[in-house]
């Protein structure tokens, strides 16, 4: 990632980029994407939620995090993250930020 100092640390930046890109995220999925431990991700998600930047809701057993719609700088933060996503190398974009999220019939090859 490119601007860890701006976001406090590299993991916080990764978490925010993930959520800006996919619209939402949960601990294990974010951790798997970056190949890090769930506890590292959880720590940052909690910190960002406590700071009012993220909000979460339960879906079954999953706690899903999104950007806080009431965060005063949400639009500006999203624009910044979106711009950073555009500046990433193509390989990183394809590897980390292009997972298919639209529906796919069960059994059909991805």
């Amino acid at each position: 990632m490119m601007f860890p100092a701006l976001f406090g640390n590299a993991m916080a930046e990764k978490v925010l980029l993930y959520i800006a890109n996919y619209g939402e995220g949960y601990i294990n999925k974010i951790a798997k994407t970056y190949g890090v431990s769930p506890s590292q991700v959880q720590k940052q998600l909690k910190r960002l939620e406590a700071g009012g930047i993220l909000v979460s809701r339960l879906m079954g057993n999953l706690r899903v995090f999104t950007l806080n719609p009431r965060f005063a700088l949400k639009a500006e933060l999203l624009a910044l993250l979106e711009r950073e996503l555009e500046l990433l190398p193509k390989e990183a974009t394809q590897k980390l930020f292009r997972e298919r999220t639209r529906p796919r019939r069960t059994g059909k090859e991805l």
């Binding site: 394809q94 292009r98 639209r102 059909k108």
Partner: protein, 179 residues
């Protein structure tokens, strides 16, 4: 043209569409294959999806004549690298349905009815708008960069989908791509 391992996706689409037409069956190609025909991009299609209003039994019979057998939801051909599927219709773009496909694409083997480039962009954007699918945003941008499209039509449709904000995101990326 013979169906074998060397047939291109494009020629297979033309061959199947032309054959179905000959058999009195309407078909419209949808999905990623349409993007692939309009703009060979980073997301090659692995199959052909056709929407047809005709009876499925008639489709099975027609497909058998060119060597495709039903296997689950797919039609497979022993010598063909791609499968063919007929998802349930009607044709839709985002929340709007039914929609009439306004495009056609000529191949060496026949003419394929499909979404116009503008409709194709809207179809891909729908998945970005409603499912946050970035692959589809890439695909919409690839088609929009390769073909003249009606941006005002896409803008109005985006507003009807309640996603004007995401349309602006698409537009900004398109401008960067074209610069």
């Amino acid at each position: 043209m013979k169906i074998d391992q060397t047939i291109t996706l494009e020629d297979l689409a033309g061959l199947v569409a032309e054959h179905l037409r000959h058999e009195g069956i309407e078909s419209t190609l949808v999905g990623r294959a349409v993007v692939w025909l309009y703009a060979k991009n980073d997301y090659p299609s692995k199959d052909l999806d056709f929407i047809s209003p005709n009876d499925h039994a008639a489709i099975i019979q027609a497909m058998a004549k060119i060597g495709f057998k039903p296997e689950g939801k797919d039609f497979v051909h022993k010598d063909c690298p791609w499968t063919v599927e007929f998802p349930t219709g009607p044709l839709a773009i985002g929340n709007e349905n039914p929609v009439k496909a306004e495009g056609s694409f000529s191949t060496k083997t026949g003419v394929v009815q499909l979404f116009s480039p503008t409709q194709c962009v809207m179809d891909r954007l729908a998945w970005f708008y409603h499912n946050n699918d970035r692959q589809c945003l890439d695909q919409a941008l690839a088609v929009a960069a390769a073909h003249p499209i009606k941006l005002e039509k896409i803008k109005q449709w985006s507003a009807r989908e309640g996603r004007s904000e995401k349309y602006e995101q698409f537009l900004r990326k398109l401008k960067i791509l074209k610069a």
